[in-house]
Symmetry: C2
Subunit: 210 residues, 2 copies
């Protein structure tokens, strides 16, 4: 079921017709939003790339999610239970729509075209998010750094329909995304190269197995 076209149109409608929204642009490295208890914000990334980042008390930085076009984020999706900072950082110039989730559903009682579109399309958008999160969990449940790398590469390879692909992260960020120590990850990358499983040219990875 390819719903991409539907979703494109829906988001356009959404971004043009809803009153209770804000549309903002951000440049690279700007903070798009910080997660705040009880605010219940819902955001749609119209364009660009951004990361949800957590800074914990040990000083570790974790990239919790990586967002690209049409990704959803905001407190609606996240029950905040710690004092860890959670922020969304723009990784490129990007455009974001902001809503308060409760508004959307209160207005849903009216029968306007916009809200009809909304209730038809939001499930699919959220569903995409769920599958993303499940892929993320599959990554994180790999027991070793090596397996995390291989799983991640295999995912990118599938997504690109090619054994060759660009990393969407710097290596430093990749470590924060896999939730491992950077130097340990570099060591493992070297081993993967030595074992002839991958090649790495700059930002480009080539899978050599299977």
């Amino acid at each position: 079921m390819n719903t991409n076209v539907d979703i494109e149109n829906f988001i356009l409608d959404f971004s043009n017709s809803c009153q209770k929204k804000q549309k903002k642009n951000f440049s690279k490295n700007e903070v798009v939003t910080t997660y705040i208890k009880n605010r219940n914000q819902l955001c749609i990334l119209l364009d660009g790339h951004a990361d949800l980042v957590r800074y914990d008390l040990n000083g570790n930085r974790t990239i919790v999610e990586h967002f690209s076009k049409n990704a959803l984020f905001g407190e609606v999706f996240y029950t905040i239970t710690t004092n860890n900072e959670l922020l969304v950082e723009a990784k490129s110039n990007c455009t974001v729509l902001f809503y308060i989730y409760d508004d959307i559903f209160h207005k849903c009682r009216n029968n306007c075209k916009f809200h009809q579109n909304l209730s038809e399309n939001l499930p699919q958008l959220i569903l995409n998010k769920v599958t993303d999160l499940n892929m993320r969990i599959e990554l994180l449940t790999q027991r070793s750094t090596r397996d995390k790398l291989l799983r991640y590469f295999s995912l990118l390879s599938t997504r690109n329909l090619s054994k060759t692909f660009e990393l969407p992260f710097s290596l430093t960020d990749l470590a924060d995304y896999l939730s491992v120590d950077r130097s340990a990850m570099m060591r493992e990358l070297k081993l993967l190269k030595e074992d002839g499983l991958i090649e790495k040219v700059g930002n480009r990875i080539i899978l050599l197995y299977k």
Copy 2:
């Protein structure tokens, strides 16, 4: 926004009125379903507890998700990209509704009460799942076994509104849920006790800090 009552009613409606469904009972340890490519099944757990379990090629068992009342699962939420076995195992007697996702949305073009309810309530149900998955990711991104345990305990404590709570897992299963070695986890549990951070009486944990 408390939507629990709505969702209860919706699920009742759902389970009584939809033609293209199956309702089945399972007893403890039975396999509820196996994830199969391109089937696109959607399941609702009406009652009981069940786990989504992955067996990987290294022989590791991972509890990917833990489901309780009203949880959603099935291939709709999961893009299968490996040959790892993914199965849902009943952890107690349970009742499950089975649908094929595509059917649900094709029928949505009609205006029957059931599908109106569906499109109103499914987003909220899925949203609950998203927040669950995000909590899961927060757990898995903890860098050490110790932090995973503490984070998990803190979650259960918040959920129970008490520093004392029952583990919903056997210790063996808990290790598979945190994606760590069981013996290493036991060692860490012992250290937590020795450091005076927790007490453990049978299946019951008592948090001693803060």
